[in-house]
């Protein structure tokens, strides 16, 4: 059962029982046809062995598979390391990368709780206290007040800030940093400009940069693998070249056209860089880009150089050092290829990471021109550089806005200009644009699947998006009517794929998902066969 009476000080309680166990009745109700509550727990409990091995005293879920310390000495060492990290977080010298917005966010919250209803996780969970967007920030604030500020221990007693720092507190806080997708909808709604999303990322950073604690999917098989092999998916240069050959075969099969996909073309205008997950799971997306760019006679290329075929940068979500390393290596590829600019494909966090955040670590020739594919595509579509027949997209289409592209970057209109031009039955989800809801897979959640975390994601963090997708198609739920959720972001697609499949929405109600470029190619007048495949 949910537990709304959790207090901040409960974070330091003995680690035997979780602070919260979510039941189906706790969760935000869904509209028809998913309005029937199941009796099975939405998030299956961890096995006995898992419970013994991993910390799960926050909510019975383990995103980090954080091992339990073996003895008191080890616990004390971890507490000391945490405090060292906390001091660094608050030091201008150690944490120049985010010191100013962190201090501002910690200091400006007036506890008006205006942000609460903006948080899809808090609302979807049935307003469970530990998921309140201010909860984790308040825990951090009080730990700082008590353990870092001068005379903090005395003052914290007087001001009611008292919270004990022990291993259970730290273990719960580490997990709690991964119950927020960093969508920053709360920050957008804060009248004082406090950014709880940033505070969450700073907590993640403390754990990673000081204590070596991070989800394996983000670190070991994420950024570390990326830096070692060239892509977070583990794709090598050779494997990438094979995939390009496969792309060419696909293009011929789907369109009858023979296109030589340009790779490593020195001096091209554009280096197009995709999330390598597209090559693994959605090859039709890079295929569609190639068809469009060739049809518009653009000077472009892909890169087979290590780091040149991977747009992701998981460091964006948890670690400044890993983030900087990857961003610099990606830029270096473009520089060596002597292209005029880098263009990001359909990957939200790559947009925000490489175009916006990396902006403050680049100088001189590394300050390389980078932009989104969206303005370019909008120019091609709206200036009639492509022959399009919108009648070929005569089915209901809705747009999922990736947070990184809209609220976190301010690219709102180009994708709408394109859809209005190519999809006569385009309809908006509510809310949308900069007020959109996260897919629930943001900040790495879409690729994190250890233990029961994926169940938590699908039932809690993705629940609002699931509701939105059903709401927007409520009048056309008949399975004979094809429906398309356009999600121009790989991670969002991953989360939406799981939502549609696991709730039977594709099979029973004909709701399909895909990217934006696929819709554009589907509308191209000179391609006979439909590009979008509705079966399978």
């Amino acid at each position: 059962m949910g537990n709304k009476g959790v207090r901040l000080r409960d974070m330091s309680k003995g680690a035997d029982e979780p602070l919260l166990t979510i039941s189906a009745a706790d969760l935000m109700p869904l509209p028809r046809p998913l309005d029937q509550l199941g009796t099975r727990p939405p998030i299956p409990p961890l096995s006995e062995n898992q419970r013994k091995s991993y910390e799960c005293a926050l909510d019975g879920v383990s995103a980090l598979t954080l091992p339990r310390p073996q003895n008191k000495e080890e616990e004390d060492k971890l507490v000391k390391r945490f405090l060292d990290g906390l001091r660094k977080l608050l030091s201008q010298n150690d944490n120049w990368t985010f010191w100013q917005p962190l201090v501002q966010s910690l200091g400006s919250c007036v506890r008006c709780q205006t942000c609460n209803d903006a948080c899809p996780i808090y609302v979807s969970s049935g307003k469970q206290e530990i998921y309140r967007p201010t909860f984790r920030a308040e825990v951090l604030r009080r730990l700082i007040n008590k353990y870092i500020r001068k005379r903090g221990k005395i003052l914290s007693k007087l001001t009611g800030d008292d919270i004990e720092l022990n291993w259970p507190t730290i273990a719960r806080l580490a997990e709690l940093a991964y119950r927020c997708t960093l969508c920053r909808r709360c920050a957008q709604s804060c009248p004082l400009g406090s950014d709880n999303g940033l505070i969450t990322r700073e907590i993640r950073k403390l754990f990673s940069q000081e204590m070596g604690i991070a989800p394996k999917e983000l670190h070991d098989t994420g950024t570390v693998q990326h830096l070692k092999v060239g892509a977070s998916t583990g794709i090598s240069s050779q494997a990438f070249e094979n995939m390009v050959e496969f792309m060419e075969e696909e293009i011929q099969e789907k369109t009858g056209k023979r296109i030589k996909v340009p790779v490593d073309r020195e001096g091209a205008d554009i280096l197009l860089i995709h999330n390598s997950g597209e090559f693994m799971s959605w090859i039709e997306n890079p295929v569609a880009f190639a068809i469009i760019f060739e049809a518009a006679s653009l000077s472009w290329t892909l890169s087979s150089e290590i780091y040149g075929y991977e747009a992701t940068n998981y460091g964006t979500w948890y670690d400044d050092v890993q983030f900087a390393r990857i961003a610099l290596k990606q830029i270096d590829v473009a520089k060596k290829l002597k292209v005029k600019k880098m263009v990001m494909g359909e990957c939200g966090h790559a947009h925000k990471g490489l175009i916006v955040i990396a902006d403050r670590i680049l100088a001189d020739d590394m300050n390389f021109p980078r932009e989104s594919f969206l303005p370019l595509l909008a120019e091609l579509v709206c200036n009639d550089r492509l022959k399009l027949d919108p009648g070929k997209n005569d089915f209901p289409v809705t747009l999922h806005d990736p947070c990184n592209v809209v609220r976190l970057m301010g690219i709102v209109e180009p994708q709408r200009q394109i859809l209005r031009k190519i999809s006569p039955r385009f309809r908006e989800m509510e809310p949308h644009g900069v007020e959109n809801y996260c897919c629930g897979g943001g900040s790495g959640f879409a690729i994190m699947s250890s233990t029961n975390f994926k169940d938590w994601r699908e039932n809690v963090s993705s629940r609002m998006k699931l509701k939105q997708m059903i709401d927007v198609f409520q009048d056309v739920m008949d399975p004979s009517i094809k429906k398309y959720v356009c999600a121009p972001c790989s991670n969002c697609k991953g989360a939406i794929r799981d939502l549609l499949n696991d709730n039977g929405l594709t099979e029973k109600y004909g709701i399909r998902y895909g990217g934006l470029v696929e819709l554009v190619v589907n509308a191209m007048a000179d391609i006979e066969k439909p590009f979008i495949e509705w079966e399978g």
Binding site: W99, S108, G193, L328, L362, D364, L408, G410
Partner: protein, 291 residues
């Protein structure tokens, strides 16, 4: 006692000025942080080759700041229930600040003997509005479960002290000065022009108490949320996506920052190296778990 109050009052003014300047310096000299902007609509990134185009956001930023500070626009939009008492309080406070400024100016430049009672109406209305807003906020803070959660108990005392200050002000004007503007202005003129220093050293209780309360607020103000609200527009986090263009001031500061040492101790971070070196090493260390 009078000397002490005098010392506290002028000391608090000095403290207020110094604290504001120091806070401003601390804020302005903070290192440039990574670009972590939020957008409330379309940005320059909607343009191809955006780095070749200029976008002037100053006017937009100033207008959002004015609307926010004068009308608490974001509260109005996102939390209407709280906005009503909050706006009453702030509007009253702004009027009260203006009223004090008017008092000081008109005490010097006008004939205090013939002052009309309009000034009294202004001051009383502003005090009443601030008081009602303050009571409303305090009641909501005490009764609304969401507003109570995490609200530090010491802040309730702050609200009570605000209300006491307002009562003290009203008491001084209406009881001590019998709601007479000429009497009040004459008193203020004496204070501002240092005409009667003896009087300053032996002030009457009601105005002295009010001056004492005001001094406490002057000391508190530089650390208040009102100041945070002001600063938020100057840290490139909301509605201010200034990009790093080649040869720009931003780029110059970036270069300096990359020379700083990386001091974190994670297993993937080498000891004693600069950001520039760590970020560009060809084969970084790896793995989770403590060193």
């Amino acid at each position: 006692m009078g000397g002490l109050i005098l010392f506290i009052f002028y000391g608090s003014i000095l403290f207020f000025i110094v604290a504001c300047v120091l806070r401003g310096i601390r804020f302005a000299s903070a290192p440039l942080h990574l670009h972590w902007e939020l957008y409330n609509g379309s940005s320059v990134y909607e343009l191809t080759d955006w780095w070749t185009k200029t976008e002037n956001t100053v006017g937009k930023k100033l207008s959002s700041m004015m609307f926010d500070i004068l009308f608490l626009k974001e509260f109005y939009r996102r939390n209407r229930r709280l906005w009503y008492p909050l706006y009453g309080f702030h509007a009253g406070l702004y009027l009260l600040i203006l009223w004090h400024a008017w008092l000081f100016v008109s005490a010097i430049i006008t004939n205090t003997e013939t002052a009309s009672n309009l000034g009294w109406v202004w001051g009383t209305f502003a005090t009443g509005l601030t008081f009602l807003g303050g009571v409303g906020i305090l009641l909501m803070r005490m009764t609304d479960p969401d507003l109570r959660v995490y609200y530090p108990p010491i802040h309730y005392l702050k609200w009570i002290f605000i209300l006491l200050t307002l009562i003290g002000g009203a008491f001084a004007v209406d009881i001590h000065f019998h709601s007479s503007m000429p009497a009040l202005l004459k008193y203020v003129r004496g204070q501002v022009t240092f005409a009667d220093f003896e009087h300053k050293l032996h002030p009457a209780l009601a105005p002295a108490l009010h001056v004492l309360f005001a001094s406490v607020w002057l000391i508190y103000l530089p650390f208040s949320h009102v100041f945070q609200l002001f600063f938020r527009y100057y840290h490139s986090m909301r509605w201010d996506g200034v990009p790093n263009r080649r040869g720009s001031e931003v780029e110059r500061r970036v270069k300096e920052l990359l020379e700083r040492p990386v001091t974190w101790s994670g297993p993937h971070i080498p000891v004693g190296r600069r950001w520039k070196e760590v970020a560009s090493e060809p084969h970084p260390a790896s793995g989770t778990g403590m060193k």
